[in-house]
Symmetry: C2
Subunit: 215 residues, 2 copies
C-alpha cells in the first residue's frame, strides 16, 4: 500500500485534485453532449472537443468509449435525481400533495436529461455492455432513488392504494415522456396528465386491494 498523498503537509494531493477536476469536467461535458446529441452523437471525439482536451486526456480517464459512456450514465442519473427536488420546489404552489407529486414526476420525466436516460434504456436493448452499466447505475442509486420518491409522495404511500399509485405513476410518466417526443399537440399531454391525476385520486381512496390480490 502506498502512502496517501494527504499525509504530506503542503500541496497535498494537487495531482489528485487536478485529476478529479479534469474527470469532472469530462463527465460534465459528456453529459451535455449526450443530452444535446443523443447516444449516437456521444463519441469520444465530440466529448474531447467539447471539453477542449487532448485525445490522450480523454483516453487517460476513460480507456474506451464504453467506459466513458458507463460513467456518463451514472452522472446523468445523479443529475436527474437532483431535478426531482428542484421541480418539487418549483411546483410548491400546487396544493394537492398527490397532484403535486405526479406532476413533478411527469415533468422531470419529460426533461431532456431524463429523455436521454430513457434513450439509453431503449438503446441498451441490443447492447449488453450498456445494459449492464445501466443496471449497475440504477442499483447503486437505489437508496437515493427510494428516498427521493418517499420525500416526494410523503404520506401518500401509507394510504391503502398508495404504493400502487406511485408505481403506476412511474410507468405512466415514462410513457408520457416518450410519447411526448413525437406529439405535435402539447395540449394532449396536459389532458392525459389531468386524467391520471383524477384517476389517482380515485384510486387512493378506493379499495382496490382485492383486485391486486387476484394475481
Amino acid at each position: 500500500m502506498k502512502a496517501d498523498a494527504a499525509t504530506s503537509s503542503r500541496g497535498a494531493g494537487v495531482r489528485r485534485d487536478q485529476r478529479d477536476a479534469t474527470r469532472a469536467r469530462l463527465l460534465e461535458g459528456a453529459v451535455s453532449v449526450l443530452i444535446e446529441h443523443g447516444v449516437a452523437g456521444t463519441t469520444t471525439l465530440a466529448v474531447q472537443e467539447r471539453c477542449d482536451v487532448g485525445r490522450g486526456t480523454l483516453l487517460h480517464h476513460f480507456p474506451t468509449h464504453a467506459d466513458m459512456l458507463s460513467s456518463t450514465v451514472t452522472e446523468l442519473a445523479h443529475r436527474n435525481e437532483a431535478f426531482v427536488e428542484a421541480e418539487a420546489d418549483r411546483l410548491s404552489s400546487v396544493t394537492d400533495p398527490l397532484e403535486r407529486a405526479i406532476r413533478v414526476m411527469a415533468n422531470v420525466a419529460s426533461q431532456p436529461s431524463y429523455l436521454a436516460e430513457l434513450e439509453l434504456w431503449a438503446v441498451s436493448r441490443t447492447d449488453e455492455r450498456l445494459r449492464a452499466a445501466l443496471r449497475t447505475s440504477e442499483h447503486g442509486a437505489r437508496r437515493d432513488h427510494d428516498r427521493v420518491l418517499a420525500d416526494l409522495f410523503g404520506d401518500i404511500a401509507d394510504q391503502p392504494g398508495g404504493t400502487t399509485v406511485i408505481n403506476l405513476s412511474i410507468e405512466f410518466s415514462r410513457g408520457l415522456a416518450l410519447s411526448g417526443i413525437l406529439r405535435r399537440d402539447p395540449g394532449k399531454r396536459e389532458r392525459l396528465l389531468c386524467e391520471w391525476v383524477a384517476a389517482a385520486k380515485v384510486l387512493v381512496t378506493s379499495t382496490l386491494k382485492q383486485g391486486a390480490e387476484q394475481c
Copy 2:
C-alpha cells in the same frame, strides 16, 4: 405520362415486379436487422449483407441511409399493428374484455419489434429527419391504428371513463415496456400489470368525469 406496363399482353410489368420484390426483401431485412441490432446496428452495409444484394441494389432503392430508415419505420409500424390482432387471438382465453385488452396492449408493447419502435422514438429526440419520418408514418397509419384500438377495446370505449382508461393504458404500456428492458425481476411486471388492470376496472365504473374536467 408513360404507358402502364399492365397494358402489355404478356410478361407485363416483370421489371416492376422484380423491383417490388427486391424492395420488399430489403425492407424485410432492414426491419429484422433493426429489431435484432437496434438503430445503431442498422447500417446500409448490414442490411445489404443480410439481404445478400450488391451495394448498388440497396443504394438504388434507398439513395441514402436516411431514406432506408424512413421506409423501414413504416414497415415496422405495420408489423406491430398486425401483432395486436395476433396477440388478441392468443389471449382469447382471458374472459374479462378490459383485462384482455390491457394485457394485449402491454404484451405487444413489450415485444422486440415494438421496443425497436420505441427506440426509434427515443433516438429521434435529437434527429430531426428521423422524427419527421416517424411522424409521417404515424400520421399515415392513424386510421388503421384507431380501428385496431377500437376492435381491441370494443364497447369499453363507450363507458363513462372508457376513453380515458384506453389512453392511460397506452402510456402505461409504453412505460412498462421500456422499464422491462432493465428489469431483473419479471414478477414485478406481472404485478404492475395486475394493479393496472384492477385500477382500470375501478375507473371505468367510477365517475371520474368531474376530475378530468377540472383542467
